[in-house]
Symmetry: C2
Subunit: 107 residues, 2 copies
DNA sequence: CCGTATCCTTTAGGATACTG
DNA sequence: CAGTATCCTAAAGGATACGG
C-alpha cells in the first residue's frame, strides 16, 4: 500500500506522477468525475490495461477515488481525492508553461 | 532541431521534461551553472550516455546552454537558458507538493 | 574530463482474448 | 462496461570500452 518515499521532495512527486499517463489523468479528472471509458477516450491512446494499472497505483497513493456502482452493466467512476486535487498547481503550471512555450515556438 | 508540439499544452510540457532525469537536471541547474561531472553526481544514479542524451535534447529544445572551454583536460559547463529558467515554477510546485505529501505520509 | 559507440537489460506499455 | 490474463514489443536506460 505504502511505498518508500525518496528523501528529495521533487523525486517524491516524480514517483507519483511520472508514469506516462498520470499527468493526463490528472488533467482530465481535475474537470470532475469521469467514468472509465470516458477517461480512456479523453486521455488519448492508452490501453485498457495500462490505464487501469495507472489508476490503481494512484488509488494506492491516495490521489484517486474509485467508486463502483453495482449495476448491469457496471459503472465505475473515478475522481480525485482531496490530496489528488492538491496537485492542481503543478498541472496548471505545466499548462501555462506549455502554452507559453508553444506561443514562442510557432512559425 | 524543432519537434512537433502536441495540441495540448500539458502534453507539450511533458514532451520536454518527462524523461527520467530531466526534472532532476532542472532541479540542480536552477541552483546555477554546473560542470558535467558535477551534474552527474548531483543528479544521482544516471549513466554518462543517458545524461549526455538528456542534456543534448534539452539544448535542442532551448532549455539548456552548453559552454565548452577548450582546455586540457576539457571543461564543459551547463546552465539554464532564459526559457529553461521559466520552468522554475513547475519544479518549485513539485518540490512543495512532495514536501507536503511526505509530511502527511510520515509515521 | 567529457563524450561516443556498442551491446545488453529492463520495464512500461500495447494487442488481444476472455469474464462477471 | 469495466475489468483481468497473457503474451509481446519497443524504447529508454545501463554497462563497458575506447577516444579527443
Amino acid at each position: 500500500m505504502e511505498r518508500e518515499l525518496p528523501a528529495c521532495p521533487v523525486e517524491t512527486t516524480l514517483l507519483m506522477i511520472s508514469d506516462k499517463w498520470k499527468v493526463l489523468i490528472l488533467r482530465d479528472l481535475l474537470n470532475g468525475t469521469m467514468r472509465f471509458s470516458e477517461l480512456r477516450r479523453s486521455v488519448g491512446n492508452v490501453s485498457q490495461k495500462v490505464l487501469t494499472a495507472n489508476l490503481r497505483q494512484m488509488e494506492r497513493d491516495g490521489l484517486v477515488h474509485r467508486e463502483v456502482y453495482p449495476e448491469v452493466p457496471p459503472r465505475v467512476e473515478y475522481s480525485l481525492t482531496e490530496t489528488g486535487r492538491t496537485l492542481q498547481p503543478i498541472i496548471e503550471a505545466m499548462k501555462d508553461w506549455g502554452t507559453q512555450y508553444k506561443a514562442e515556438h510557432a512559425a
